[in-house]
Amino acid sequence: MTDSELDFDPEELAMLRQLFRSEAQDALEAVTELVLAAGSARPSREALTEMMRATHTMKGAAGTVGLPVMVDLAHRLENAFAAFGRDPALWTAGTADQLVEVIDTLRGFLDAMTAPGGETQTTGAGDTLRAAIEQLRHPPAADPAATGDATAAGRAHPRAESVSDAVPRPTDAAETVRGVAPAPAEPPPAATADAAPEPASDAPSDAMLVEPKAWLRVEPERVDEVMSSAGELLFDRTRIERRVQLLRTLARDLARTRQTLHDSIADDAAMPAALRNTLLDAEGELAGQAALLSQTTAALLDEIEALRRTIGELQRGLTRIRMESARNLMLHAARTLRALRRATGVKVELRTSGEDTEFDKAVAEQLVDPITQLLRNSVAHGIEPPEERVARGKPAVATIAIRARQDGNSLVLEVSDDGRGIDTAALTRRLVATGRWTTARARLADDADVLEALLDTGVSTRGEADELAGRGVGIGLVRQTVAKLGGEVKIASAAGKGTAFTLRLPLSTALAQAMLFKVDGQVYAVSSVNVPDTTFVDAGATVATVRNDTLPVVRLEQLLGHGAATERRPAIVVTFAGKSLVCTADKIIGAREIVIKPLGPLLAPLTLYAGATISGSGKIQLILDPAQLVRRAYPDGPAALTGPSSAPMMLAGRALVVDDSRAIREAMTSMLGSEGWIVDVAEDGARALQMARHQRYDLVVTDLEMPVLGGFELIARLRGDDRLAATPVVVITSRASPEHRRRARELGVRALVAKPITRRKLLAALAAR
């Protein structure tokens, strides 16, 4: 079979053969490992089946890339493995060594065969290999006579030594492939090692001797699930870290308290000796406990750091699982170009580099269309006819080059041609003619602006029959697709020299499964992890029953749109931090894979949104934060709901609650405590002031009407003390009159909360600025 009979162009064939070579090398290596794993014993039935599978696949691939000799050899190997399976007696003590040697030789042969022009130069070696494979089933120990004969036959076989005599024997190969019983005792193994053009360069290493490599096929969704859990882990770690930081503050405070106690005991000369000793003992104990707390906290922080590293490794490992090389993409490009060449008759060849560059499978799949589009554009518009090229001093056959490389955290794919380049003047005229640009705009624009406009969809969609219309077709789609993946496209062109498109993409994208739904004409998303179910909600219902649970309903048409729906609506069930709710929608679109984009600093304060994604048509869709939805459904919910993703709030620290009612003190302690605050209490302003002078507080929450020293007096005293002036104060009162509010403002009170206090009011006060 010659190349012309195959369905490939020479460069594509060369590429396919390189691909075949690496696949076949892997298959043969796997076989070697299986053989070695069995030691001198016969490999298990499973191992033999696996070996047959590997060689069978190799046989099929070899046929596709037009290597009949390899087809024959693989076929014979497969038959040999089948024979070992059928008849255990065929496997003797020497078979394993023999087999490994044959495979090594075959691997060298494979390299030589798939090198340029290698096919015609290696036929002789093929014959000897064929003989060696057949010999496997005829163990020398069992039948010494056969070995002797075979050696003699080998010497009588001139082709085995003479390369010049080597002629392809297509009929021979074809027959054996059809599965006719192979002729017994063909030429011998004696010449095997010498005849092979290159001895296998990589002899089995120690690592290979250990265990056979097992391949695992996993659905991508499963990897994504784990990936998403790893993300959650990161979130949990942040929360733990915050709590531990608080513990550390507490440990420092404890040490300070001990010091105060120590000083007081030392200063008080009048103290009875017995009391002094008791207090000193207690102080000593306190010191020990404070030190222990401090040590434990430090150790905890170290462990959190270790956890952070492990999570990082986990995420990197998972990312690697999703990686694939650029090879498949290049192969696809070669096939596309061949089809284009056939359809148009344009003389062009493809050059590729960087096939080993690895990137996310999801990214690779998405890039197939853009690359096809770019090739199509080059062939249709970029490349001049051969005579024109020659006249310009260029080679008659044009070149399209695809280069892949990694640059930091980006994958860079460059698709360039050596054609005529883009006529920016004509493109400008086109932009003006289609009303896309004003003449004033056109005057201001430079070449880069014009090329940039080409990447906009607008130019292409208005395409009429003129020299540029086709040029723009689909180029906008390239930008859209790449943008959706979080990448960008650059275009460079030089008149008469060619055009280059540079696609810069993230190596892996922040991909997530999300449930998409429509509310008031816009599409929104919630991470699928948080959407276990969908349901329906009746008109006007405030609760819905889902799997025997009664859940609160959040009406998204009210939250995100205008007005209340009167009819029964589809809804999604949202779960976060152990709480579930039901969100109504106009329509549920379904689960999709999305790329999460950050909202940026301007939108970040809008905590309802966790991010955004870009639809296939380039529209932005907002991602709702499940934590915020839960907060809306459970306004008085537990503190766990106000995690890092909640409203900007005062960081928890140490708070002083001042109120003459014990019930209110207790209630406030509980509410603040569940937000992570350490709470001290005082029953009046005087006591509070005294405490504030000994202990730094991050927040003072005070009532107004109290005995001894009232709330406003307390605040005034705090403001009058340099060290305490900056302490944030929140006032709780049953008298929220305008006069009270005015006075509170004057005293720089952070917020004034009317009694009765609810958790929600308190949180709002803490969030206020």
Binding site: L485, K597, L603, G618, K619
Partner: protein, 139 residues
Amino acid sequence: MAELRNVIIVTIGGARYAVELRWVREVVSLGFVTNVPTAPAALGGVCNLHGAILPVLDVGVLLAGVAARPARQGDSALVVEVDAVVCALRVDQVDHVASLPESRGEVMDAAGRPLVLLDPGRLIRRALELVTADAERVA
């Protein structure tokens, strides 16, 4: 002699303004504008700009507290960048680029009429204040 400023002259709500070119990254025609329901009126929506999320500010609201019509696809906008914050200022019309003398926050156009020189940094800070205040009110 007043200092010359390289500005782009735009029309917003019937009035003409100048924006210094050094803040302007590009002049675009907005793609599909997605409404951000819980945001204040100063934020006219978000747009896809080369795969990134581009907030569109309503200059009318920021300057005078008067809401113009909502931003929509095809509107002209200046993409400005100040301190790594990128956003779009929706305008009714982009007139032309000029080099004009500045004095006290205004520039004189060729006909000698004064034009207010918009400060994108201040507009962004104002928008951020409004968005933050609104977010807290909602929370």
